[in-house]
């Protein structure tokens, strides 16, 4: 069997993997290896030709390929080795990776530490169980985006989009610019899932109707989609009888959420969070298996790539430190607990060592809420409060704490409504 030895191995060369690999090298890891199943670096950014990336990290508005380009340049200049067109089959807790490609066949990689950066994939019709026939013309928004933006294949002429996530709205604009008619964007929730900016620039600019509190109840068509039925939903998101309308269309795009791609993490038996569907990590982005680190959408689905890059630099840096035996050894662990109107916290654990460290904790709320007070507390009482004019599940929030202030075993974040 072909064998490769490295200090840090990074699985995935999308935004998370690129930032992690560059940071690991910068931290002093001598041999950094990236393993990617696509034939090019950059992951999903290659097909995200629209602007809106880099506003917080580079303070300028870049498109996906430009944003990826900045990191690809770094990785190439740093002399990081890449295995493209290579599928990882197994990751073990001891740092051994089995992968395969047509050049080397089954390959064993022995690494000092591993960064899991596999990203996420889209929910499909099967995940949300839309009734009806099974014709051609039903795509997830991201696969349609790949076809249109990378493969020069148009997906349809008259399109209904289910889900008001950012990818769905961006595809509404993209398909309109390419000459298709987008009949409507349909959202089951009573609020927009993606950013307001995208509603204005992708839907309003082109007069595309947005139907909140509606869902697709049935797909019609034999060979090809001939239309969909759309109905209003009640507060429990269940279709209201006699509100069904028929929309004539040949294509249905689904932008209904993302699932972290964690088959490798689960097979490695690391601890998982059943809310994020990603590995449980500490502030070093270290999983329950000390040698394995994780970052980006494989840990929790982010809304901004800038946040993915920042989190991944942390993972890469700490994976390098671990491989070089420099990661501080923890004295005790504090568990981060989501409180009122908080869906999850990331990292889920904080390792407290002799060194005081500043830790950034990211979180999402469950429900949109105005006039919110964030309360950060441990068992002994309130650590601090922060007032926010409004919170929204679509926009990730963050707070900072110092490990020196953490007594006890838990840290709780509540997002309370102010009266």
């Amino acid at each position: 069997m072909y064998e490769i030895t490295c200090d840090v191995a990074v699985i995935g060369a999308g935004p998370a993997g690129l930032a992690a690999a560059a940071a690991a090298k910068e931290q002093g890891a001598e041999k950094v290896l990236m393993i990617e199943r696509d034939t090019a670096l950059g992951g999903i950014l290659q097909q995200c030709v629209h602007p809106g990336f880099g506003l917080s990290l580079f303070n300028e508005e870049l498109t996906g390929p430009e944003y990826a380009g900045r990191f690809i340049e770094k990785v190439e200049q740093a002399g990081i080795q890449t295995l493209l067109d290579t599928m990882v089959l197994e990751v073990r807790q001891d740092g051994t990776i089995y992968c395969t490609n047509s050049r080397y066949g089954i390959t064993m990689v022995k690494s000092g530490s591993v960064v899991l950066a596999m990203g996420c994939r889209e929910k499909t019709r099967g995940n949300i169980q839309i009734p009806g026939t099974r014709p051609a013309g039903i795509y997830t928004a991201g696969s349609a985006q790949r076809m249109v933006n990378r493969q020069n294949e148009m997906v349809g002429k008259k399109v209904v989009i289910l889900g008001s996530g950012d990818i769905g709205m961006i595809m509404a604009r993209r398909l309109t610019l390419e000459g298709a008619k987008v009949v409507a964007v349909v959202e089951v929730m009573d609020y927009l899932a993606g950013l307001t900016r995208n509603r204005v620039q992708c839907l309003d600019d082109f007069g595309i109707p947005l139907l909140l509190s509606h869902t697709v109840t049935r797909i019609v068509g034999n060979q090809r989609v001939e239309g969909v039925y759309v109905a209003k939903v009640d507060q429990n998101r269940l279709p209201i009888p006699n509100t069904e309308m028929f929309f004539d269309c040949d294509t249905l795009l689904l932008s209904v959420g993302l699932i972290p791609e964690n088959e490798l993490s689960k097979a490695a038996s690391i601890e998982m969070d059943n809310v994020t569907n990603g590995p449980v990590v500490n502030q070093y982005m270290q999983t329950s298996a000390p040698r394995l680190f994780a970052c980006g959408n494989v840990v929790h689905v982010n809304d901004l790539v800038d946040n993915v890059s920042i989190e991944s630099m942390l993972a890469g840096k700490n994976a390098a430190k671990y491989a070089m035996g420099q990661l501080p050894s923890s004295k005790r662990v504090v568990v981060c607990r989501p409180g009122e109107n908080v869906r999850y916290l990331c990292p889920q654990k904080i390792a407290v060592s002799d060194e005081a460290e500043d830790v950034t904790i990211y979180f999402r709320v469950k429900q949109p809420q105005k006039e919110t007070t964030l309360k950060v507390s441990c068992e002994e009482g309130l650590l601090f409060e922060k007032r926010l004019p409004r919170v929204n599940p679509g926009e990730m929030q963050h707070i900072g704490v110092s490990t020196a202030s953490l007594s006890g075993k838990t840290l709780t974040v509540d997002a309370e409504k102010r009266n």
Binding site: T39, V49, T63, G69, L177
Partner: protein, 121 residues
């Protein structure tokens, strides 16, 4: 004329009412910050957008290369600019930030590549 503008500067999404005619603004109401007021004024007088798309390329392993306008374009010209982009047929290699259509529709804005198309080995 009265126009409601949803501010896109931050996620608050303030609804701002602008009253005026052409380039003359009489009143701006509903903004909650200075940047928001500025946005509403320029959006009322002359809305502009960055245009992004793809262009056909031959001689590379991929059939398309990503493109953008070097600066925001007047909103009303986006569809006509798309027609010009559709007429492009490039030959690899194409480099990032290579100018593909200079001064599109006499706007002073260029269409440039954002991706790269390497020559196929």
């Amino acid at each position: 004329m009265e126009k409601e503008i949803t501010c896109t500067i931050c996620p608050m999404g303030c609804r701002i009412m602008v009253c005026g005619e052409g380039e003359v603004i009489q009143s701006v109401k509903g903004y909650t910050c200075a940047r928001g007021e500025q946005y509403a004024r320029s959006e009322f007088v002359h809305p502009v957008r960055i245009l992004t798309s793809t262009a056909l390329v031959s001689g590379s392993s991929e059939p398309l290369v990503a493109v953008r306008s070097s600066r925001p374009l007047p909103k009303e010209l986006l569809m006509n600019c798309m027609k010009k982009i559709h007429m492009l047929h490039l030959q690899a290699p194409v480099y990032r930030y290579q100018v593909l259509i200079p001064n599109i529709m006499d706007t002073g804005v260029d269409i440039v590549a954002t991706g790269e198309a390497k020559t196929q080995d």
